[in-house]
């Protein structure tokens, strides 16, 4: 591992040092990595020859930890993986346990779950938009994005009790009923955000400087996107149809009207456009559901101690960053024998080298911003 910036000489060429490759480190503490990611970059002049991620600075061994937690407890640990999609992580784990226990989730809980998922997706994309623009040098969007994100956080706090790692979903439904104020607050948010999302576009999307920084940068072909296992907006920007909500609908997604956003630009700008359009789709899903929450139970009747029958269970959901998978191997006991979290960020990061290679060092931050890396999700 390279600890310092150094010049690597090609052996045997006899060239002076100035023509060698330069190896530089970005991170682990670097503002643009949004966490603790260490990148070792080999440069020739300003051209990137290789990007090598070093992970593990926030590795907590969640998979091993889950092996000693019961099927009710392990769900709470998963909020700390992709903390911007914590509802959706919890959702995937609950679905996997429900699959094993054959629990039918009541319709009211299903709708509440989907509502929470989509609000989380909106909040996550807002943060990405603000922070991504800030990485590239535009500071204003950050304040706009956080103003709207704050409204979602307030909604979450009222119903779930927390603002970031909600731990609201339990096997069989949701933990508590929604707050009496929930619907009014969400309506207020929809009315507010509907006008603001156009403002987002005015601020950034058509900006010439921004377009120049994005278009043609970080090319990832459709075949490579599939081969690297990219999912979410990273893959959909390359024209790969991979939205789990559409392909394998869960909960009430099959009854909803929304489009899978596909772009064929294969560059950073395409990924940006996908996320911007996804925000509108999520807003439309929230609008469709908020007045149609059916009455009824919020939890199915379950036993106090869950014992998953011997076997293997896999559930897939779409988080804000892509496909999240939970693979549980059960031996019939009260704890999972083996658990694997297929995190979207891990696979998306592996394509970073492919996207950045041959480009300029100045574009690397733009590429990373448009993958939307969340480091705890990658390290687990």
């Amino acid at each position: 591992m390279y600890r310092e910036t150094e010049i690597v000489k090609q052996p045997g060429t006899g060239e002076p040092d100035v023509f060698g490759d330069m190896v530089i480190n970005i991170g682990p503490q670097h503002p643009s990595t949004h966490g603790v990611l260490h990148l070792v970059i080999t440069l020739n002049g300003e051209t990137i020859k290789k990007v090598e991620p070093h992970l593990g600075y926030i590795h907590r061994s969640i998979e091993k930890m889950c092996e000693s937690l019961s099927f009710r407890q392990f769900i709470y640990v998963t909020s700390k993986m992709d903390y911007l999609s914590s509802h959706i992580n919890n959702h995937a784990c609950c679905m996997c346990v429900e699959k094993g226990m054959q629990i039918e989730v009541p319709p009211r809980a299903q709708v509440i779950r989907v509502l929470m998922d989509e609000l989380t997706r909106l909040a996550s994309h807002q943060l990405w938009w603000g922070a991504g623009a800030m990485d590239i040098g535009a500071l204003t969007p950050f304040f706009h994005a956080f103003r709207e994100r704050e409204m979602i956080n307030d909604i979450m706090e009222e119903t779930c009790g927390t603002r970031l790692t909600m731990n609201y979903m339990v096997p069989g439904g949701v933990m508590t009923d929604i707050h009496p104020n929930f619907q009014n607050r969400v309506h207020a948010f929809i009315d507010h955000f509907k006008s603001k999302i156009d403002e987002y576009d005015e601020l950034l999307t058509g900006n010439v400087i921004f377009e120049n920084r994005m278009q043609g940068v970080g090319y990832l072909s459709k075949e490579d996107a599939i081969s690297y296992g990219c999912t979410g907006p990273t893959a959909r920007g390359s024209g790969v149809s991979c939205d789990i909500r559409k392909l394998y609908p869960y909960e009430v997604y099959s009854k909803l009207q929304f489009d899978e956003v596909l772009e064929t630009g294969c560059d950073c700008y395409a990924r940006y456009i996908v996320r911007m359009k996804e925000m509108r789709q999520s807003l439309s899903i929230v609008q469709q559901l908020i007045d149609n929450i059916p009455e009824g139970d919020i939890q199915a009747k379950t036993k106090a101690v869950l014992k998953l029958p011997k076997g293997e269970y896999y559930s897939r959901v779409e988080t804000a960053r892509g496909e999240f998978g939970v693979y549980i191997v059960s031996e019939g006991g009260t704890t999972p024998y083996r658990i694997k979290f297929r995190s979207p960020g891990f696979s998306n990061l592996s394509a970073l080298d492919q996207m950045a290679r041959g480009g300029k060092i100045g574009d690397l931050v733009a590429i990373m911003a448009m993958i939307d890396l969340v480091i705890p999700d990658i390290d687990r």
Binding site: M65, S227, G311, Y314, Y327, V329, L349, S350, D379
Partner: protein
């Protein structure tokens, strides 16, 4: 392709492998020796074309290790779970990172966590664990670390 059609196709290509349907998807058990030619068939036969590897992991069964590969075809939208049983004392398997590029990172993770040696892997090094961890495999069932406790 439905599960039944997929099973019939798979029996044509792999007459010796055992095919079952224990979980959600079709499972196929392949011996380590036949693994390398088998993945080529899975990727390149037009009827199968499994081009998307969405999950690669390993399970420690205390007596042996099992590699688990989850494949999907983005053309036909059928899934397949490939399982390969490995010797726990000397786990070795051919890499698939030349076919599915995502495997490069996933295999490095399995290498450090379970100690599986991936033959012909382009860059088999520690990915998540810090330098000097070689030889200790935290995700194995018999791993104990009194200093950095993982088990709760």
């Amino acid at each position: 392709m439905t599960k039944e059609e997929l099973k019939i196709k798979l029996t044509e290509f792999f007459p010796t492998a055992t095919i079952e349907e224990s979980g959600e998807w079709v499972n196929i058990n392949i011996a380590p020796a036949g693994f390398h030619p088998a993945v080529d068939v899975l990727r390149n036969k037009v009827e199968l074309s499994f081009d998307y590897l969405f999950c690669l992991t390993c399970i420690d069964w205390k007596t042996h290790l099992t590699m688990v590969y989850h494949f999907e075809s983005t053309t036909y939208r059928h899934q397949l779970v490939v399982k390969v049983q490995l010797d726990r004392n000397k786990p070795e398997i051919e890499t698939v990172s030349h076919i599915w590029r995502t495997a490069e990172f996933h295999e490095r993770e399995v290498y450090e966590m379970f100690g599986v040696n991936f033959l012909n892997h382009p860059d088999l090094r520690l990915l998540i664990l810090p330098d000097g961890w070689e030889g200790k495999n935290p995700m194995r069932k018999d791993f104990e670390d009194p200093v950095n406790m993982i088990k709760l």
